[in-house]
Assembly symmetry: C2
Homo-oligomer: 421 residues x 2
Amino acid sequence: MSICDSTNIDFEKLAAQVFDRCEVIAQCSDEAGKITRLFCSPAMANAHKQIRLWMEGCGLHCQMDSLCNLLGSTTTDDDRPRLLIGSHIDTVPNGGRYDGMLGILLGIGVVEALQSSLDQLPFALSVVAFSEEEGVRYRSPYIGSKAMVGCLDSELLDRVDDQGIRLRDAVKDFGGSVEHLAAARLREGSVIAFLEPHIEQGPVLEAENLAVGIVTGIAGQTRLTARFVGKAGHAGTVPMSMRRDALAAAAMWIQEVERIGQAREGLMATVGHVQVSPNVPNVIPGEVAVRLDARHAIDSVRIAAAKELQLRGESIASERGLELHWERCEEQNAVPTDSDLNALLKQTMEELGLPNKQMVSGAGHDAVYMSRVAPTTMLFVRCRGGISHHPDESVTQADIAVTLRTMVGFIERLSMSYSHK
Amino acid sequence: MSICDSTNIDFEKLAAQVFDRCEVIAQCSDEAGKITRLFCSPAMANAHKQIRLWMEGCGLHCQMDSLCNLLGSTTTDDDRPRLLIGSHIDTVPNGGRYDGMLGILLGIGVVEALQSSLDQLPFALSVVAFSEEEGVRYRSPYIGSKAMVGCLDSELLDRVDDQGIRLRDAVKDFGGSVEHLAAARLREGSVIAFLEPHIEQGPVLEAENLAVGIVTGIAGQTRLTARFVGKAGHAGTVPMSMRRDALAAAAMWIQEVERIGQAREGLMATVGHVQVSPNVPNVIPGEVAVRLDARHAIDSVRIAAAKELQLRGESIASERGLELHWERCEEQNAVPTDSDLNALLKQTMEELGLPNKQMVSGAGHDAVYMSRVAPTTMLFVRCRGGISHHPDESVTQADIAVTLRTMVGFIERLSMSYSHK
């Protein structure tokens, strides 16, 4: 029945190869002894060189687009429909081996797995290494995928990094060209699906003892800063009854953030950043700014929670005679992944005898932008302790094998459903 | 009846002079456009020069001791018993006109007020300008008064300031000598009383519409740091139920600090300093250190409150699966001022038709150390908004006049009671 015969594929061997390659690419770093790979840096050039070798080794045709995304395809025919697989090549400073890179190497691994049946597929396979996702060098994330979907803000092109180098010059030195930005844009309808495998960056799969999860959407996010303004004073001379302590008010609100976060299924509500002024042990804090980060798969739930927290903040401040200013409010709506692709992934996992965990991504990914031009989904891979953005990122070879098996099964089923269209 | 006839004293005129002199000394600064007068600095030398002129102008004999405290006395006879009045000459960086300096100039003002009757007093009057109280230059407070009571830690003599200058060298360059440290020590029994007038540094007198208050004691203080250790994690990927958020725990404890502070009469309990790690908006805080400052006039009340807060901290941490470490615990017991002197101040104010507010100082003062060698008390002077350590420190001429009147009345009554002993 099957277009490609996956029974003969040695997933264990391929998984070992992906695992080892993650280790090899970890050596491509801009900082000795750390894993730091920034946009258009020497480390990224080394990584490109290595990835090209592996891509070409399994017959992929390589090219770098004008914004330095590296693509390896089973075809040179730009009009041929393709399934795109991949993730980003860059890391945060002192990051880990798997965030981003695993998705690229799994893409190559799948091409190797399907080596003998690539010709029978009704679509081409392409593997992408997005040039920039973390937003470190130019303080703006998703540069690679934004360029591919044609929504990169041109204001960004003249932004400078910490060394004063403009983005346009960094791209040029790397062999790209912002003058040909439009050429990076994917051809309308050319991508039948985009699949981004990525480490979970959270503890859920580990806690449920699962290797892989289907990402049904990327949570929406509200970020806002509450600045409580009271009155600074001497900690030894201002009686409790005469105080307008900004920290006591902020602490009460931080409690509310946690309470409301816990009260609503699937909501994540966090205060991660606090700025106390003057932050001196014997001075009653006069001003405290706290930043809320709230996420949920359903926008209306998140928006209602943020609204409730704003109201609670207002009443805490007014009961205490404080001012409260809301600053830097940013909203990003949830992005559901493609339900047809998810159904196919679910079916694949059921038929392979794997549990099919459906989950929401709380973190943003290139998939958010790719979903604007193609049916898109993601697979999450279990990572030890939920750790990411850290040298301790850890993924097992066994989980890589399960992921490869799922991806190959998914491509088989996608081929069939595509052929029947 | 009275030894000195205060009916002819023009307190308004003397108050205007004290007020103007505060302005003159404010010009003696180590930073242009600010009031910054550090220990043994050029600004302190200028202030000494000016204060000597005023002291000598009203017949005081001036001398600087080996640790650079400046003394002006109505007598050169070291054996003659004396009433000592004064405060400190130094300021914090970018401080105010009155903290410290007002007490010195009120001392000189009183000598001028009593000019015609100094000979009839049964004791000498001395005015002191302590060389160092704020602890800025050598990160250690009360250096001047500690030297005068013989408890300056000799380890301090070799401590260096930010420029690498040792304390002993700074003192030597200023004309003092740590080799003769013992000579700075006050002669046993030579001081019949020490009176330190000082701005309140708090809002109580202003709130109660009073010019002056009698300080019945200096509060004891507990300082300790609670370090909550949880687990950092991604704010978008770790479900609320799996978190060990150190900030949520710390916020709960900050609430308890306020609650317990409010529940006990006279207790001041403050968290002024918070350190969040990593303090990044999208990361659940893994570690939060908060510093408690608790003060009360009665040691047992303060100690019980600190104990209760430690227990609350422990249970918050254990309910949430966090570690809690207590660090930097410092205890300083309360120092009551002399009850006989306070009774005399109360009587004075009653007889002058002034309200006699009794209050506790939440801040430390040179009076703490002086109380080890002589009956000691303090008068607090109302300051606008309770502001101190800031260019906005403000005191009215009218309140200075009330303070001078109170001090002169106190000296009259002290003379009589001393004569009758």
